[in-house]
Amino acid sequence: MSDAIETTAEQVDEERRDFIHIAAVAATVGGAGMVAYPFIDQMNAAGDTKAASSLDVDISKVPLGGEIRVLIGGKPFFLRHRTPEEIAAAVNTDLSRMPDPQTDEERLMPLPDGTYNPAILVTSGACTHLGCVPVGPAQGSVGDYGGWYCPCHGSHYDTSGRIRKGPAPANLEIPTYEWVSNSVVKISL
């Protein structure tokens, strides 16, 4: 027994042994990573979830001064039919005092003919603070700036969906959308 141990000790090629150790560890780490990938990726959005990610909305039924709310993939969106006064309030405002300055026109998308329809404002319905759904004209509260008010932590948005007061860091997001015709918008996630 003791002879055998001595002979092997003499014959050990340390470099070869290191190579085997490193190769074995590398293969194990690589294999573990390859096993982990599908188990992590399975939690991402599934194919059918992704597929249900756009919606055509007819805006001709939105009452003046009101809004409709739609869900796409469970996410809320607001389509608001603004009154001339609301549009004027959104346009004639000092941008320099806003936390996230943006002109009203920057928050609109052109119609098929390239002009703008400022009467219809399309925004995300998730407060940029922690994702609550702000209340609007239909819920009886529009905040200090006439747009939306988030009851969770008191963020006030104006008639262009821009943050004016409260903890939210940014304006209500403008989703990716296009005017399919003069009365239909296609909103995509």
Partner: protein
Amino acid sequence: MSGHESTYEPKLGITKWLDDRLPIVRLAHDSFVDFPTPKNLNYWYTFGGILAVCLVIQIVTGVVLAMHYTASVEGAFGSVERIMRDVPFGWLIRNIHMVGASMFFLAVYVHMFRGLYYGSYKAPREVLWLLGCIIFLLMMATAFLGYMLPWGQMSLHGANVIINLFGAIPLVGESIQSWLMGGPSVGNQTLQRFFSLHYLLPFMIAGVVILHIWALHVPGNNNPTGIEVQEVEKDTIPFHPYYTVKDGFAIVVFLIIFAVFVFYAPNVLGHADNYVEANPLVTPTHIVPEWYLLPFYAILRAITFNIGPIDAKLLGVIFMFGSIAVLFALPWLDTSKVKSMRYRPVAKQFFFGFVIACLLLSWCGAENPDNPIIKMGDDKLVITYTDAAGLDGSRTFEDYAPAAQFRDETLASGGAASLGIQVAPAFRFLHLSQLMTLYYFAYFLLILPMLGLRERPKGEPDSIHHSILGNEAPAAAPAE
């Protein structure tokens, strides 16, 4: 304590046979029967046993509820209502599970404050404390996941707020967020994974509890004096029957309080909003977590300012997670050699201040941060006007009638006027939560590290048995 000689002697043939193959009875005997335990443990030390009972109750009732629950957005709310109305004794089992979560946290907070007061986190029990912190984290995760399952308004929107916190992480935040939700929003797929994980985590807690007890049994229990056991004969008594009976009595009292909630006020610790089925288009006016998470929620909301490039939202998240992370560092932050606050006259006062800070943070977490606590003056009415001559101005009024009269006169004369409210300055919940957040972190990061170096401890007894008999008591046997 580990290293104490096993006194287990198998008497029957079968127990001898088993002892040679799997000495599990010996392990139980050495851990819970003839385990030398300091003789001066008070009732604050019974909460470990109470917590074990809580975990068993939650697992047993939870497994039963899972037999009747449907994890889908169409079925979840209805299946919970069915459990409450149609499933035999479903109302009882669900109430126990629901109240059980609160009782579990009540017990764990007492257990943690006990550890803080008697210095149970100090050498040689750092690993014991760390494992406890891990259990606490797992408990919070489990409670959060479970609160989502009834698919009420608070379930959905509470989950939404918490998952949105991850969005504050720069660069990868949004990917993490949609990875957690499994889609663009909290939906069916989110509910299913939350259910799966809610079922898994309690068993992970049970696993860590075993490690926690193991780590307890290596150095043995701390005790109210914070002095280690010196003479096993004089300082300790066997766990059974002394502490099985003491723990048993405490468990019975605890279960009576538990039962009062289950039978008389099962919903008093919850929110009525959660009995409204989840609606992603309507957020409840006041989103609040369950009471046991309120202090952390208050810390999250206390941060309303940016520091350098870090914005308030991310900073709030950092502070909230930091308030738990700091617990992990505690064994190395407290520099005092004396464990028990009994003999730390100054630290003791700061400790009770800390308890009060935690309670006040809970209060802040439940309230709207903008609500005033102490008002300085009254709110006033403001009329902003442009008069007929085209001059702008504003006037403040105490009462409505003169304000309305002024507005109407301005309007009648061809000007424009609007009415607003000028809110009086006040000491608000936001300010209180900011002060208490400051104290929370100062306690761990400034007070405990500095105080340990400066404080003069007093009146420490020589040993555990001296603490009971007095230092002058004649020694029954000569030392050594």
